[in-house]
């Protein structure tokens, strides 16, 4: 079985963001970088599938500058067999259609049976790449899965809908699934596996070799939302803050009678 998992390196969302000088994206200096959270679930599920079917080869793909290799090494240490690094220092500026175009161009002649992606990235958050890759490859896709089982060429998955409701679906491979938070418990790479990962193949492909589509949109400006104001900000010692809040609640609400 041939499996692909696509990951993205994103800033830690707790970071202090600044808008870059070009005004169209965030400044990527002084940020802590990590694997997109949704993709951690995708990698874990891909590794579990590989362990289940035994005879499987699992590739992890990531697009970005040299820096993303660090994140790819984590995926390799979690159990991916090989890495495909699409070298693109400008990947931050690429919109979902271009990113999907790059992935599908890479994947089109490799006969992947199952492709895993996160349901969205934490920074751009468009939630389009996975589904678009499947459309471009002409294979079926299921988005937002919170449960995954594979048996004899059939994927059984649960899609998360609103209000705690789930939809049970089945689909034959080849297929792509996009992974929602809570799908599984992503493993921590062990030290021996981190050491082994250093020896795994990590092939670098220039983006020009796999970018065959044009952008359909662009981010023309990035900015902080306007502060709505009105909200009171309180700082100080915990006990004083508790007293202050209690008097506010007494005045403004009916919960402390």
């Amino acid at each position: 079985m041939n499996i692909l998992v696509c990951i993205k390196q994103v800033p830690d969302m707790e970071s202090k963001f600044k808008v870059a000088a070009n005004g169209t994206w965030y400044d990527n200096q002084d940020l802590a970088w990590r694997m997109n959270e949704y993709d951690e679930y995708a990698v874990e599920q891909a590794v579990q599938l590989k362990e289940q079917v035994k005879d499987a080869d699992l590739t992890v793909l990531c697009i970005g500058s040299d820096k993303v290799k660090e994140t790819m090494k984590k995926a390799l240490a979690m159990g991916c067999d090989r890495g495909a690094h699409i070298d693109d220092a400008d990947s931050w500026a690429k919109e979902p259609f271009e990113i999907a175009g790059i992935i599908s161009e890479y994947a089109k002649d490799k006969s992947f049976d199952v492709i895993f992606t996160g349901m969205q990235s934490q920074d751009r958050g468009s939630g389009q790449v996975g589904v678009l890759v499947a459309e471009m490859l002409g294979i079926a896709s299921v988005s937002t899965i919170v449960d995954f089982a594979f048996d004899d060429g059939t994927i059984k998955a649960k899609r998360e809908l609103e209000g705690g409701i789930k939809a049970n679906v089945t689909v034959q491979v080849p297929a792509l699934v996009t992974c929602q938070l809570g799908l599984n418990t992503p493993r921590y790479p062990t030290l021996p596996n981190i050491m082994k990962a250093k020896k795994k193949e990590l092939l670098t492909i220039p983006v020009a070799d796999v970018l065959k589509v044009d952008a359909r949109m662009e981010t023309s400006a990035m900015y902080f939302p306007e502060k709505k104001g009105g909200g009171l900000v309180l700082e100080g010692e915990a006990g004083d803050l508790a007293d202050k809040l209690i008097s506010i609640l007494k005045e403004k609400t009916s919960v402390l009678k």
Partner: protein
């Protein structure tokens, strides 16, 4: 301008999101037609043309067939835009339709500014304005971003159908776990976010909730980590709540969480990060370490 609005129907009911699509269309000053895979027994209140597919035949959840029918409607109507709710249905179907239309897609639109779509980035810490290069566009709209407009009236129905099976087979719905707590009725909710740090701290949150005569809830990461059971999750994929007081502890304010608690009457947030998006909706933002503040508050409330 003409927009095809994609309404949603699930398990015998029209979902209310179409009223926000109508609100969006009004903002855009657009002419509209609507599509829904549903039933002629429950029609949207909409005084316009409705393309209606029979969900009992084509499936309530069938991306291949729904995509094809929407593309058929697009071919016939030649709209400038197709608009979905940013929901499990919308975000699954919109990229398929956009691909079929060779159109750009803007996801999770929160605002229209000088004709351009605005979408959030980085857990809503930032906003971005998006410019499309294609003639037609597809958008998904964030829940609550556009004020609902009650369409009223009865639609002029044109029934449509499509042949085929579709590759993704829908096997049925699974309801949320029954039992447990019903947060939708609580007057006070104290919610725990990732910022509580470790599962042992849930007790501190529940103690404050109890002191205030309410219930405790949680944001998604806390539920996913299995620190708190799912029926206490507040947000798009959990419960939608409307308490008199919502106290968010260590919750940064991801858009999905905000969607679930935005009807709260009074919101207090406790966070060490002054710039956390939760601060935007909070009436009071307490900038403090919740491990110190929450027990202090609990003690003082108990002493009242």
């Amino acid at each position: 301008m003409k927009i095809v609005l994609i309404a949603e129907y699930r398990d015998g009911q029209m979902l209310s999101g179409y009223t926000e699509l109508l609100g969006f269309a009004e903002t855009m000053g657009a002419e509209t037609v609507m599509f829904v895979a549903g039933s002629d027994a429950v029609l949207p209140a909409y005084d316009g043309k409705l393309y209606l597919a029979d969900a009992a035949v084509c499936g309530e959840y069938n991306p291949d067939l729904h995509k094809q029918m929407i593309l058929d409607v697009v071919a016939k109507e030649q709209p400038d835009m197709v608009a979905f709710c940013h929901s499990s249905y919308g975000w699954d179907l919109a990229p398929r339709v956009a691909f079929g239309m060779k159109a750009a897609q803007v996801s999770e639109v929160v605002e229209v500014k000088d004709g351009a779509m605005v979408a959030p980035a980085c857990n809503s810490k930032l906003r971005r304005t998006v410019t499309c290069k294609t003639g037609q566009t597809v958008v998904t709209l964030q829940a609550g971003a556009f004020a609902p407009v009650e369409g009223g009236g009865t639609p002029e129905v044109e029934k449509i159908a499509v042949d085929g099976q579709g590759r993704v087979v829908f096997e049925g719905y699974e309801e949320a776990e029954a039992g447990g707590v019903d947060l939708s009725k609580a007057e006070v909710i104290v919610s725990a976010g990732r910022g509580i740090g470790k599962p042992e701290n849930v007790a501190m949150i529940s103690a404050l909730a109890k002191a205030l005569g309410g219930e405790y809830g949680a944001s998604r990461p806390v539920v996913d980590s299995e620190w708190v059971e799912h029926n206490r999750q507040v947000g798009t994929t959990g419960q939608t709540v409307a308490p008199k007081l919502y106290l968010a502890c260590g919750i940064s304010g991801a858009i999905q969480h905000l969607a679930g608690m935005k009807k709260s009457e009074f919101v207090v947030a406790v966070n060490t990060d002054k710039d956390a998006p939760i601060g935007e909706v909070a009436d009071v933002l307490i900038v403090a370490d919740l491990l110190q503040f929450v027990p202090a508050l609990t003690e003082k409330v108990q002493a009242l």
